[in-house]
Structure formats: C-alpha cells, structure tokens
Amino acid sequence: MPQVKVVVTLKPTLLDAQGRVVQDALHALGYANVGQVRIGKYMELEIRADGKDAPTIETEVKEMCDRLLANPVIENYRYEVME
C-alpha cells in the first residue's frame, strides 16, 4: 500500500508565533546558537492504489493538499509518495 508523507510549513514571510516561543525556550535551555525556529505539520497517509498508477495517485495527493491538508493562503507543502 503506497504511503504518502506530507509536510506542511508556514510561508517564510509569516511570523511563526509558536516557533518563536520554542526558540526562546531553547535559548533558555542554554542553546544560544539556535536561530529561527519554524513549526510545521507532518502527516502520513496510507493510500490504497485501487489500480491507479503513480501519476494519478500523485495528482490526487496534490489535490488533497490544496483542498484540505494545507491552506495555500498561509502555507506551503511538499509530499513524497513511498511504495
């Protein structure tokens, strides 16, 4: 069963409020060398091929990302289809 790994990240121009808190926390722990921290989302999807070829599945995954998994207004995404 193909597995899809999706990573969603905030667009680089947008402030990542959570990331800033984590950055501050790392500094407080003494990791002064840490620069900007940005938090994203990681999703694993199990997909039944149902006789579909790889390009078709890939098209579907892209559609899933555009419609639901990411908000194109504020986020970027990338995915990987694993056999």
Binding site: L14, L15, A17, R20, V21, L68, N71, V73, I74
Partner: protein, 242 residues
Amino acid sequence: MSATAVGSGPKFAVIRFPGANCDQDAYYVVKDVLGRPVEYVWHQETSLRGFDVVVLPGGFAYGDYLRAGAVARFAPIMEAVRAHAERGGLVLGVCNGFQVLCEAHLLPGALMRNEGCRFACKFVHVRVENAETPFTRAYRPGQVLAIPIAHGEGRYVCDPVTLEELERSHRVLFRYTTPQGEETPESNPNGSIANIAGIANATFNVMGLMPHPERAGEKILGSADGRGVFESLARAAERVLA
C-alpha cells in the same frame, strides 16, 4: 412555523457545528434581545431556504483539528451557505465563524495564532471603519465599541495586494483601537495586520469578525455595543424583503 410567533420579517439561521459554543449566545441575542425570528440549523442540513441572515457562531467547529475552520468548511450546510452568499444573502461569521469563512474562501486571508501565543479573552475596543454596510448601519462612522474577544488564533493576515484592495474598497469594517479610537500596536490584541478586526467580501453581504458582538448585546453583560451588528442585519434584511 412557530418561529414566526417571535416578531416577523427577516429570519435568522444560527449554524450549529459540533464544537460550536457561541451558538446559544447568537440565538439569544436575535430572539430575546432583538425579538426576531431565529432557528438553529444543524451542520448536516443542506438547505437554508426561508432564512435571510445566516450566522456562523464562535467555538471550535470539528475541534479545530488541522486548522481552525479547515474541516467545518466542508460540512454539508456550507454548500447552502455558499449558495446563500452567492445569491446576495447576508452571512455573519463570528470568531470561529470568521475562520470558517476564510477557509471556505468566502472571505480573503487567514487567521493565524495570536502574535503572543496567548489565548486572548477580554474586552477590546474596535472602531467602526465603514458604517454604510448591512452589518454596521446602526453605528456612526468612527464609533468606538467595547466588545469582548476570546480567541487563540485571531491574527488576521493577507497578502499585500489583498490588503490594499480591502483598504481601497473600505472592506475593513472594524479595527482594533484604544478606547479613544486610536490605532496603536498596544490596542492590537493578536498582531493582526493593520489592526484588522473584521472584514467584508467585495459585495458587502459576507462579514467576518473576531470580536463577539453576541456577547455584548445588553448592558448587564458589560456592554450593549455589539447589538448594532444584529440590528443592522435585521434592518438590511427587512429592506430586501420590503
């Protein structure tokens, strides 16, 4: 239709998503404060026939999983909300409702985690930026309202082109200010771009705002300043029906 017993004229719908928690406040302000007909509409419904004003209340629809509003926008009722909006019907999204409307692309932009990462639950002041809309006609231009907010993800963002368009066409309806009506960084509770608290779509029949006007409908609640939003809507819908 028992609801017609309570007043007559325009009828309000309050959409109920699982996880909504301001639905009863919205219902109450319409029915008991304004004396207008109102009914709950469950998210699994597919029709808004007979309704003039649709309210998407605050809360955490579908648990806000993935992103606030991301799953709710695909609820069966949302097709009817979209059709209602496309017909020119009035739609008000409060807090989570605003987030749902942005996710549904009925309003531009998005709402992100508050700048300070804190859930902000307090009275704020907003200035009425445009008092010539179906949502704001009960107010004076520039009037400053005290209305509570209660959100963790209310930082309005949009791209520069959209912002320019919003400003140019006076679609920013409410902005966070000081009690004196000055727009300052301190009066911005969440880091929203240009202190934006509420916006309308291009045809001014869909509005989203983060503050909760339904929680400020009577003096006993600390402020009656929010009532004007619902009064404006009722009057606007009445004009359409007349």
